[in-house]
Amino acid sequence: MTAASEKMSYLGEGHTLSSWLLTRDHKRIGLLFLASITFFFMIGGVAALLFRLELLTPQADLFSAEVYNRLFTLHGVIMVWFFLIPSIPSVLGNFLVPLMLGCEDLAFPRLNLLSWYLFMIGGILAIGSAVAGGVDTGWTFYTPYSTTYSNGYVISMATGIFVAGFSSILTGLNFVVTVHRRRAPGMTWGRLPLFIWALYATSFIFLIATPVLATTLGLIAVERFFGIPIFDPRHGGDPILFQHLFWFYSHPAVYIMVLPAMGVVAEIISTYSQKPVFGYKFVAGSSVAIAVLGFLVWGHHMFVSGQSEYAGLVFSLLSFLVAVPSAVKVFNWTATLYKGQIRFDTPMLYCLGFIGLFTIGGLTGLFLATLGVDVHVHDTYFVIAHFHYIMVGGSVMAYLGGMHFWWPKISGRMYPEWLGRFSAVLIFVGFNLTFFPQFLLGYMGMPRRYHVYPPEWQMLNVFSTAGASILGVGYLLPLLYLGWSLRRKAYAKDNPWHATGLEWRTSSPPPKYNFHEPPKVTWDAYDYDSI
């Protein structure tokens, strides 16, 4: 691959603004999403750094309670809906799905572009709400506070999330139809890369869960705007009904955030062990199982809400069940490593970090699923640590690993390897320093969403904030060197990692229609003899 062949790739097809903003090329749309979510990540990250600064001291010195509440709400809303949920599906998924399946584009290219515009409109509404003064309800919008008492910009923030939700739905629709109806000849279901299985399962969740969130946010807006009681207990409404509807979406949403990451891990771990993923059928099946079982457990967010004890029992039992397919994946990834030719390149470092941190996060989920323990740690930093281990220690690391892994394919350049490894290690260290103390704090009883705390917990909070600063630096580095790599002359080969996917059998970067010759697949997914 040279500078000349790069001009013949999708990157060379038009340099005007409209060639990007009106593109139907899934690869360019993936890059549009990359720019957007990187921007939102920085906003969400700054919000976190600000409230971690406040938490350096036990008393309130930087922010009032009201401002603090708006900061953590902003952090949650942006990171969940405008970073984590779209990150792997809309960036890596959009870019890779047609390539991995051997077709020219997704089934509905114009809906794909619409998906990005909806995302941006939603994002602008959300940021606008924050700038106008923000929302202080937490990302969970619990009623009746959000519907009756909060003075924030609830309706506009909710509308932003509502619109962004349709972006998700369109992505899920596109992926499902593409996987069903655009596979290359010979690409049977049993030969699909595991990343595709993961995105297919994620798409099921996008399609079934997101509409319920949309309606629920709509009901908040109706109650607030028209004064029609729906969840208001003064008028016979039930705030717990809101929680049922909200968590029916938001629990599967966390699987939206982690399933694609698990798909990335499968690809990376196979490539850097130069071995097929152990137990392909079980890994594929576990993705589907997680997507389905994930819909049965939402009440575990409501154990102390006033929901019945019987319902608590049912949801607790089902929550234990949903851990099983995740564990199946961890075992299979580990078995993939066994007797492999392991290389500790940057993507592999992120991937190994994922496995360790996800396991810790997942196991602490079992603590939370246990009714008795949850009564003690609900709404404490234990919960915060649990989900950050999965979403940051897990999903974000997998996202970065995937960005590095596919960077040569996306950009046609190689990133500087030693900087990559250094950043991965820095992120791992910073992450653990930030969030491990939070398990301890939570277990000792420090509540979440408070801007003040008893002085005996200061030391652990200082560690956590220090870790957050290191994490911030760690995230900044890839942003800088990946951007810089676009100017370096280190051009990438078609298949620099000796990987088996169809995406590696076309040029780096690919031509506009992905393949010069439509591929015909006669080999299994991780058949290293076929390359």
Partner: protein
Amino acid sequence: MRSLILVWAALLALLMLSAGVSLMQPSSSLSEVSGLAIALAKTLLVLFFFMELRLERWAMRAVAAAAALMFLILLGGTLQDYHSRAANAAPAASPGPGVTVPPPGKTGRRREDLRMAGFE
């Protein structure tokens, strides 16, 4: 074409049946069951004949079935909470003077309890 008109006739007949049953004032459980059963019958007619689900391959049917199933999970999972709350289970103990207690059954127990406790 003729099958479409026959299906339409069946749909209208079901409509009149459900309205008629409701007007005849049966027991509440009969009106519940018949109303919902008739709605289900109409849905299946529209799905299979108007939307041609009987001619489609399994993938479309799986999509329709999955949607219905997930809705039932939302409904069932939420209702099982309310059904199993202690306040809804047994009739309340002696009410205060001047308060009429509705007969046991699917009445709004929870709201009655709140009222008796002085919250409304």
